[in-house]
Amino acid sequence: MRQVVALDAARTPPDRDAVLRGQGIPAGAEIPSRVQRVIDQALELYAEFAEPRGIFQETSSSDFQSIYAGEGLNAQRTPLERVFPRAQRLALFAVTLGEAVSREITELFGRNEPTLGYTLDAVASERADTAAELIADLFLEGLMREGRADSDARALAYSPGYCGWHITGQRSLFERLQPQRIGITLNASCLMQPLKSVSGVLAAGEAPIHDFDNDFDFCDTCSTYQCRHRIATLVGTRRERKPEGG
């Protein structure tokens, strides 16, 4: 199964709280009217420039094993190496918001509009993650329609460059998925262009397969805690191990 899809829902700007969180502003903080106006402008610009689209392609566990192994640079222990063998179905994926948003962000900085550029960047980063969630939903819906996934299955995205999956894994992933079809290219340092793009594997299965303790070496230097939020959403638990000194 390979599908190229327009992700219209990702065109919708996120709510203001999400933008504020993306800028490191905690809930309930007093926001000056000047900053509020900048957020309004950034949301308008996002709606104007974003062109979200995605591609996914189902893959087998054995195929993914070789893609995941990549160039042999992954961490010795990773959550994904425990997740994917237990998944019912796997798919490679890539999503992008298109080049225009990234270009606008750069141009805003060039025009001495750093606050607006930074805010638009926060909006776009949040929407790129949302686009990955949307394509995970599409993958899962398709599987359920075809009766190839349990009704209580959940699909989550995992990406090279995070949680021990080395970023050079992008090369084998791109070779197989060919996201160039939706305008995403990879440079020599494994950086995707357009910048506001996300790629990786979608793992669909029962919610507990996505659960893990954050006791890996790389967790000590992680500042996102994104995995804790995702696991809490799926299985209602949020076991946390704070980094040393954190």
């Binding site: 900053v35 900085f109 750093p114 930074y118 460059g161 080395h166 970023i167 340092s189 262009q193």
Partner: protein, 212 residues
């Protein structure tokens, strides 16, 4: 002087139009340019920095203040040159070769300008030689590099090595930053400093430049 306090207050509110207007008035009143810079604009940015570190304000407000600072500096610059007021220092910045992320680097550039430094922004995807060549050509005492990818961090070591090979160690100092970096990495490659975020990078650059 009241007008300098007003400039500082307007800058804290991120009101670029008012900062520009008040700076113009101060110039017309023949307030010394160094006083407008130090006791108005930089004093205001110092308060912004303190409030940011105390989590009383957040990055968007710092950026609005930096933009207001720029509005005032634009008017002051020709006079600073005329009066030969020394700059706080020149800093060459860029994202290293292979890396096209520039938000972090841009934030550092804006905040360094706000702190009174002259910034030479080489952009992104910058080869090692270009950093060192630019520092020599521009007479910069500090090179600042940003990387967001583990695959591009090695370019930073190339720059540190080049600085040494060309006999510039001690004359040109190197600061690095970016999500995958750490203080340990900076030490390992022989960089002079590591900035864990844009505001911290400015503090580190000030320390490297020996200014408060």
């Amino acid at each position: 002087m009241e007008i300098l306090q007003q400039i500082s207050d307007a800058l804290l509110r991120g009101d670029d139009e008012r900062v520009s207007r008040l700076t113009g008035q101060a110039i017309d009143q023949q307030v010394p340019t160094s006083a407008i810079l130090d006791d108005g604009l930089i004093a205001g940015m110092n308060v912004v920095g303190e409030k940011f570190r105390a989590h009383e304000i957040f990055l968007p407000e710092v950026l609005l203040a930096a933009r207001a600072m720029y509005a005032g500096l634009t008017l002051l610059k020709p006079l600073l040159l005329e009066d030969e007021v020394p700059s706080r220092g020149r800093v060459v910045i860029g994202s290293v070769q292979g890396d096209l992320h520039d938000i972090g680097k841009n934030l550092v550039g804006i905040m360094l300008t706000g702190a009174g430094f002259e910034v030479v922004d080489l952009g992104n995807d910058v080869p090692a030689e270009k950093f060192v060549d630019a520092a020599v050509e521009q007479g910069a005492a500090i090179i600042g590099m940003s990387a967001l990818l583990t695959t591009t961090m090695s370019v930073m070591k190339q720059v540190v090595d080049l600085v040494r090979e060309r006999g510039l160690a001690g004359k040109v100092k190197v600061i690095v930053g970016g999500a995958p970096l750490s203080g340990e990495f900076a030490s390992e490659i022989g960089a002079d400093a590591y900035g864990y975020d844009a505001a911290n990078a400015v503090e580190r650059v000030k320390a490297l430049a020996g200014v408060s």
